[in-house]
Every structure is written in structure tokens, then in C-alpha cells.
Subunit: 150 residues, 4 copies
């Protein structure tokens, strides 16, 4: 298991590279082994016609946070990639932000499982649970493209 | 059941309104009652670190296509909203485009189910299945915000 | 919301009627509004070839417990029936018993969602998490067949 | 890949061994590499309070058929075990039988995915789709207990 600071660096590096997660403005709030929190701020291009965060955006954040949670529970040099994503949308994601808290609940040599809670919050209110996800991931070696990143 | 031309107009109107689906460049390829095809073209902001379409993007397209498939099978004035999205990622979405074909397989008064196949294609190759999704949706009245859209 | 004693009676009545849940020996351990615990004891006809509880048995217990959790959170005269069952098998269910703890996490007029944790235990060991489930249910009127049961 | 006759023998052997699948009367109808059909006949101990096949029974049949479909697509000596089972219940399983048709749609060295259609039939009617399932499985070596079975 790598050190906490290295883990956070790894998750931030993957998140901030050019691509979908950086384009939608994903912020890494917290990283511990097996546990990751990430957030998105409301922007017009992340919403549905009704003004709520789009299901694809919520799914993408949950997916990425689950990958971080599982990967930080793995030995260095190994990474978890999603094979199965199941999201239940419980209530409208109508806040200023959404926050995904992902936790690895099973960590194996070939397969991991993480669960995710997504809350939405307005500045003057308690965050409210708006979606949950269960994510199954496969464990692979860190791809060369990522390993060369630094 | 509305006419085919009206159905396509409804799906295109929802898709092209400002928000996530238009921001990522969703194209409506085909609309029939209970059956919708949509596509996305490869763009740097839709990819993962490894150069494949991101799982959140694939999930968002599948979700939106499922909503179209279910809604076009409903009576006019009713719309289907996703409550449960399950995506299996089968192989890397490494093509120039991804296409989601969604089909409503159950249409009820309160709940619908749609299944989606997502293929990825390069210009000189046969498209390959890269993900499947099963989507459960709840049936509600068309929101005022949408009804006023025209 | 009905009283706690009535809720337990309702859940036990549904569970003990002739059919699958009574045939496999389902025991109702605890019933509170929105929260139900049930168990099964190891029997040769509930196992897989490898001597663990079969996935279908685990799924059936999770499904039934989720129905109890959602129904006990509903107004009298309404019942929740499963439309969508998602089970993650985390480790072998190799104990003397399995226990499912189901909790309703969303209760609506037409749709409910419950999550379930299934543990397996041996008499001299701490129970271990062996499966989790997420269950989506539809709310309907209590069928005449059940209402007449008393 | 083993021969068709050997594959059928393997699936029947696993199905008929003492345990849940034989106790509920599972019949193996057809076995081809990557594709398996199994059925159950209506019995009081397989039903819900309303007289339909119980969700746990449907899930168990779907799970077992998916395992057969994936395993028969694998090299000899390897077997697929379910890690993730997702069932959508579409309509009441109110017939005399239920039949599960499982098909492997992805076969890998560590993970497989199968989809399953479950139909229910009465003797004088066309079978009707009552459930679909998507099953993710992990590939392992055939356990010693099974290998010694013959």
C-alpha cells in the first residue's frame, strides 16, 4: 500500500489529465486508502433540460470516484477499471454541487467492488442523498501511458 | 401514440436544448416508437486517460437513448425518467464514434424498462459491441418547462 | 404508518404462507418501519456444489427482505413488489446461517429503493459480509389474496 | 473448447448434484458453447403468495443458466462463478414453467458477461418474456470437489 500523499497525487494526476473528468471540472476532495471523495460544481453544460445534474454526469463522477477508491486500496502498480456500473437515482440532483463518496468494500487480486453515495447540496442546506451506485472493477497493471505521466 | 415525425422532433428538441447532451454533441440518428439511436463523435473532452470514451460519457448516452426509447412508446404528454441505470463495459470504446441503440422492452403506466447496446466504430471497420445497459424508468407527466419549449 | 406489532405480523404472515420463502425456512428476526432482518439456516437443499449457500437462495432472501423493508415504510394497504434486483456476491456464503438486513433508503408513492447487506456466520466467529443488494420496488395496493389472509 | 456432448454432460452433472438446483427441479434443455437453456416446472414451494414463481427462484435459475453459458465458452478446466447478478422483473411469472435462455456475450480470461431471457409459458399459449438478467462472472479453475465428481 502506498503512502497517503502518494495516493492523493495519483488520484489527482489521473483526474486532472486532459479528458472527460477534467473537462467537467472534477475536484478531488479527499483520498484515503479505499476511500475517495470528489465533487462537481453546477455548470450549464452538466445539466438536464429540467436544470438538475444529468444522469450521465452523476454516473461519470460515481464511476471515477469508485475507480479511485478501489485503486488506492491496491498495491502500487495496479489499477482498477470499471466493468459494471449500477446507479440508482433517488431524487433530483438540484443543488449547487454534487459530491461522490466512494468506498471499496471488497478488494481482491482480480476483482474489486466499491459503493458510492452521491449527495447534492445548496449553500444554506444540509446535503441530501440523490444517488447511490455499486461498481464492480477489474484489477490490471497500471497502463504504460499513465506510468509515464510524471 | 404520436406520429413518427413528431416523435423525432420531440427527441431532437430534448437532446439539443442547452445542457449535457448538446454539450457533448449528441446526434439523434433514428427515432421510432420504442426505439432510438444516438451517437457521439470522438472528442478529447469525452475520453479517459487511455484515449477511450469515458464510462460516464457512455453511461450518459445510454441513459439518454433509453429515455428516448421509453418516451416514444408512451402516450403524448408522458415522459420517462431514469431511476436505475446498469451498464456493463465489455471492451474498450476506442473508435471514432459510439452509437447507442435503445429499445423499450416493457412499457407500463408507471414503469418502463429499456435495453441499450453501445457499439464503437472506426471508419474502415465493422462496429464492435463495447457496452450494454439495462435502464429502468418512471413515467411522469411532461414537465411544464419542456412543454413550453416550442 | 401501522404500529410495530402489526408490521411484524404482516411480514411474518407473508413469509410463512405456503410458498418459496416458507419452504426454504425463512425466519423473520426483526421488523421496524423501513428496516427488516431475516435469516436462513444451512440445509443441503440450499447449497451449491461447493457447499456454500446458492446465489439464488441469497438473492431470494435479499429480495424478500427488501420487500419487507419497503412495505413496512408504506401506508397501510400498500405493498412494494420488486421490479429490479441487483446482487453483488462478495465472498463465499460458507457459514451456518445467512442474515439479510434490508433498509428502505427511498420511499415514494410509486417507487421505493432498498439496500440489503447479507452476512454469513459460524457459531464461533463474527459474521462476515458475503453479499450486498440494491432493490428497486414498485408500490401497489395489497392484493386481495393477501388482504383476505387473516 | 470441449465437445458438445461433454459440455452437456458437465452442465447436467453440476445441475443434478445434491443442492439447490436439483432440489428445485432444474432441467437442462439445451447446451451449446456459450449458450444454455434450462427450465423449472411450477411447484407450490417455488411460488410467491400470489401464485407466481418467486423472484428468488427466477434469479436462481438465471444465475445458474448464466454460469453454464459462460463456462461452456471457456477452455476445459475453467469455470465461471457469478460475482454480479442483475435481474429485471418485467411481468408476472404465472405460467406452468419458466425457461431461462442464457448467452455469453463476453468471454475473457478473468471475467465473462452473460445475458439471460426468462420466459413463462402455459401449455396452450406462446411463452411470454417475464424477466431479463445481466450476469458478470469471474473465471476460476474447476474446484477439486467438482473435478473429482466423476
Amino acid at each position: 500500500m502506498a503512502q497517503a500523499a502518494e495516493l492523493k497525487q495519483l488520484v489527482e494526476m489521473v483526474t486532472s489529465r486532459p479528458g472527460f473528468t477534467s473537462a467537467i471540472g472534477t475536484k478531488v476532495l479527499q483520498v484515503e486508502p479505499g476511500c475517495v471523495q470528489m465533487s462537481l460544481s453546477r455548470r450549464p453544460d452538466l445539466l438536464q433540460f429540467n436544470g438538475f445534474f444529468h444522469g450521465g454526469v452523476i454516473s461519470g463522477l460515481a464511476d471515477h470516484a469508485a475507480g479511485g477508491a478501489a485503486t488506492t486500496a491496491l498495491p502500487a502498480g495496479r489499477i482498477a477499471v470499471t466493468i459494471d456500473l449500477h446507479v440508482n437515482f433517488l431524487s433530483p440532483a438540484d443543488g449547487e454541487t454534487i459530491v461522490a463518496k466512494a468506498q471499496a468494500i471488497q478488494v481482491g487480486g482480480t476483482v474489486c467492488v466499491a459503493k458510492v453515495e452521491v449527495t447534492t447540496g445548496k449553500h444554506d442546506q444540509e446535503p441530501r442523498l440523490c444517488a447511490i451506485a455499486t461498481v464492480t472493477l477489474r484489477v490490471v497493471d497500471v497502463p504504460a501511458r499513465l506510468a509515464q505521466a510524471d
